[in-house]
């Protein structure tokens, strides 16, 4: 069976990473891929979106071919060391010692390393036999600052660790992350100055420093275009036309702002951003998510050569 693929969804806090994760997940599963969404934030936002009480470390099936898990750092540490040591008595003794807990809490990069390791176990063909395998894993990643740190860990480890299984694991992760046929980072932004700046900064680090494959950026919650050009001129002529014109001017300003930011992102990344509209009703329905997801999958990955079905019969990509 072909090795599965990984999507890391990232962006500044509050841009809607979870919504995008869910949309991509629903669409990919709908297109036939066995898909797993991984929630990394402790706030349970992915669970909330699907109206599930709480996700845990066992895949919870949400729809046909679509499952979700949550990762808990404590659990990752325990899980990893029990696999590494294979002797339960030893493992428990070690993990229950206060010293070990204090160390694992603060040791640089341990949790990040284990998170990547965890992600890879879901997609690696027969890496850990006892696990279920998925065609596609979508990581609802941490905010971009933390994401940069996370994705830098394998490289950092390679600099620090000169030999042994840890180096081997770091090499393995590095080769997964930098392989454009298997991994892509999806940067999510809003049509806001700060979000765009942060997206461009993240883009620079991931692309130019870490050489990671990136999809075109997504701009979430874009204000829809409400008025034609001639109407915009007409509205501009009514200086003080009352609340209706006030609201229209606001809508026009919001849309122009969104378009301006889309241009900035395009200039900065060299790729045309994919736009997801603002849901004014305040409620995002599964059918909204599915619709956006299908469009995003098509828009994001055709240029990456992934097609709309991110795994399956394709065995080798050529470019």
């Amino acid at each position: 069976m072909a090795a599965g693929r990984v999507i890391f969804v990232t962006g500044k806090g509050g841009v809607g990473k979870t919504t995008i994760t869910a949309a991509l997940g629903l669409a990919a599963a709908g297109a036939g891929s066995r898909t797993l969404m991984i929630e990394t934030a402790a706030d349970g936002s992915l669970a909330r979106l699907f109206q599930i009480e709480k996700l845990d470390s066992k895949p919870c099936w949400i729809a046909d071919r679509l499952a979700a898990v949550a990762v808990d750092p404590q659990h990752l540490v325990r899980d990893y060391f029990s696999r590494l040591l294979r002797i339960p008595l030893l493992t428990n003794r070690l993990l229950d010692s206060a010293s070990f807990r204090a160390l694992a809490d603060a040791a640089p990069g341990i949790v990040e390393f284990l998170l990547l390791e965890h992600v890879s176990t879901w997609v690696d063909a027969s890496f850990w036999q006892r696990r279920q395998r998925f065609d596609l894993v979508i990581v609802d990643g941490p905010a971009s600052g933390h994401m940069r740190k996370l994705l830098r860990v394998p490289r950092q480890l390679l600099g620090l660790v000169v030999a042994g299984p840890l180096r081997h694991a770091a090499l393995h992760l590095e080769s997964l992350l930098t392989n454009p046929d298997r991994c892509v980072v999806v940067p999510v932004s809003l049509a806001e100055e700060l979000a765009v700046t942060e997206t461009l900064e993240t883009w620079a680090v991931l692309r130019q420093e870490l050489f990671l494959p990136l999809s075109r950026p997504i701009i979430n919650r874009v204000f829809p275009r409400r008025f034609s050009r001639s109407e915009i001129e007409k509205i501009a002529r009514h200086e003080d036309g009352g609340p209706l014109f006030e609201a229209a001017r606001y809508a026009i300003a919001m849309r122009q702002e969104a378009e301006r930011h889309a241009r900035a992102l395009r200039r900065g990344t060299g790729k045309v951003p994919a736009l997801v509209p603002e849901a004014f009703s305040g409620v995002i329905t599964p059918s909204d998510l599915c619709r956006w997801g299908r469009r995003l999958l098509a828009e994001l990955f055709t240029d990456a050569g992934w097609g709309t079905k991110p795994s399956g019969s394709r065995t080798h990509a050529t470019h």
């Binding site: 509050g14 160390l103 180096r167 008025f227």
Partner: protein, 384 residues
């Protein structure tokens, strides 16, 4: 039409707060408190709010400073600056008498400064500085940004002559990660893990039985093989280097922790009316209360402020007027939902909404724009 025209300028605290006392209370807060800490979910505008609060404080005639601990340097953008550093940058708001200082936390530099200040001798400081792990990771060691934020606070409150210090907090998942960071890191540095790393034999020698000793030996070998020896040794060296300074670090941590609960400190919960950020706000309020930290109230940011008025409905079937009306209705309904959601939050956490800042197409990126935002926070006169 005048009233309608004002509409988008903000509903102020209307609908959310019963009287003008809350308006006065943010005013009073800026006049009486020494330390104001903005907490909230990432992306709600904490940094901008903190900057606008500093502007307000300056306009009220206080010597104010705003500290950002956000590595993304949003404060720089909000203030319209090219450069913002570890050192105070003076910003004139209005004439020469109304100013505030802006600072950005530099985790690495703060760590270096502390090591330099507290190391018993230059050789020990040097030993830490040259440690490979310290060089690579003093920026990224879990909790070090949070820890250094608290240390900078300590310095600013005790060292510099400000009347009021406004701080925005890093986007930690949990506020306790921030507030407990000093203790957490110190606990690690003082823990048995350190001795263990330096002399791994300890674990083996103190094991209760011969079997246990055997197991521990196997385990240690496995661990060292796993990590590669130099990493473990570097880590031991790094942590060991801090040992002689631990007491002084601990004293500061203790003082900082008391400062956060002091009478002159106020936490402000910044939120937008979006459901996810409201959920975070609710959790933050609970966590802060449980920790005994004083929360003064809520600042609602990016609130849609259009009130629906049926009388404006066009009587003709003109398609342009229809479109204007439809757009207006969507925004008005959104505004009603925003207000409703904020009201529910205020009820749930039993805190007043101290200010409502209307949604703007673009956030403030200059001092005049921050002054406009400040007007929604406190009723400061626009003249000097």
């Amino acid at each position: 039409m005048r009233a309608g025209g004002r509409n988008h300028q903000g509903l102020g605290p209307m609908q959310l707060t019963k009287d003008s006392s809350s308006l006065r209370s943010l005013h009073a807060l800026l006049r009486s408190k020494q330390l104001i800490i903005c907490v909230g979910c990432g992306g709600v505008g904490k940094t901008t709010t903190a900057a606008a609060l500093a502007v307000s404080a300056a306009l009220l005639g206080r010597k104010a400073a705003v500290l950002t601990v956000d590595p993304a340097q949003r404060l720089k953008t909000a203030l319209g600056l090219d450069h913002l550093s570890h050192e105070p940058h003076r910003i004139v708001v209005n004439g020469s008498a109304r100013w505030f200082d802006a600072l950005a936390l530099d985790t690495k530099r703060m760590f270096d400064e502390l090591v330099e200040r507290f190391a018993p001798g230059p050789d020990i400081a040097q030993r830490i500085f040259t440690n490979r792990l310290y060089r690579e990771l003093s920026n990224e060691l879990a909790g070090s940004a949070e820890y250094m934020a608290m240390e900078k606070l300590h310095d600013l409150v005790w060292g510099a002559a400000y009347d009021v210090l406004v701080v925005d907090t890093p986007p930690s998942a949990h506020i306790r990660d921030l507030l407990a960071a000093p203790n957490r890191l110190l606990t690690l540095l003082a823990s048995r893990a350190v001795r263990l790393l330096q002399t791994p034999g300890v674990l083996v020698e103190t094991a209760p039985s011969r079997t246990a000793r055997y197991f521990f030996r196997v385990l240690l070998e496995a661990l060292q093989r796993w990590s590669g020896l130099p990493l473990l040794k570097d880590l031991a060296d790094f942590i060991g280097g801090f040992e002689p300074m631990l007491q002084r670090f601990a004293d500061r941590a203790e003082r900082t922790s008391r400062l956060l609960r002091a009478e002159h400190t106020a936490f402000l919960l910044v939120t937008t009316p979006e459901p996810p950020t409201l959920a975070v706000a609710r959790e933050l309020a609970t966590e802060l209360r449980a920790g005994g930290y004083p929360i003064a109230g809520i600042i609602a940011n990016r609130v849609h402020c259009f009130t629906k008025q049926e009388r404006l409905k066009p009587q003709t079937n003109d398609p342009f007027l229809r479109r204007l009306w439809n757009n207006y209705v969507v925004l008005a309904e959104r505004s009603a939902r925003d207000v409703q959601a904020l009201w529910a939050l205020a009820q749930h956490v039993d805190l007043p909404v101290l200010a409502t800042v209307p949604m703007q197409p673009s956030p403030p990126t200059s001092i005049p724009a921050l002054r406009a935002m400040a007007r929604h926070l406190v009723n400061v006169p626009n003249r000097s």
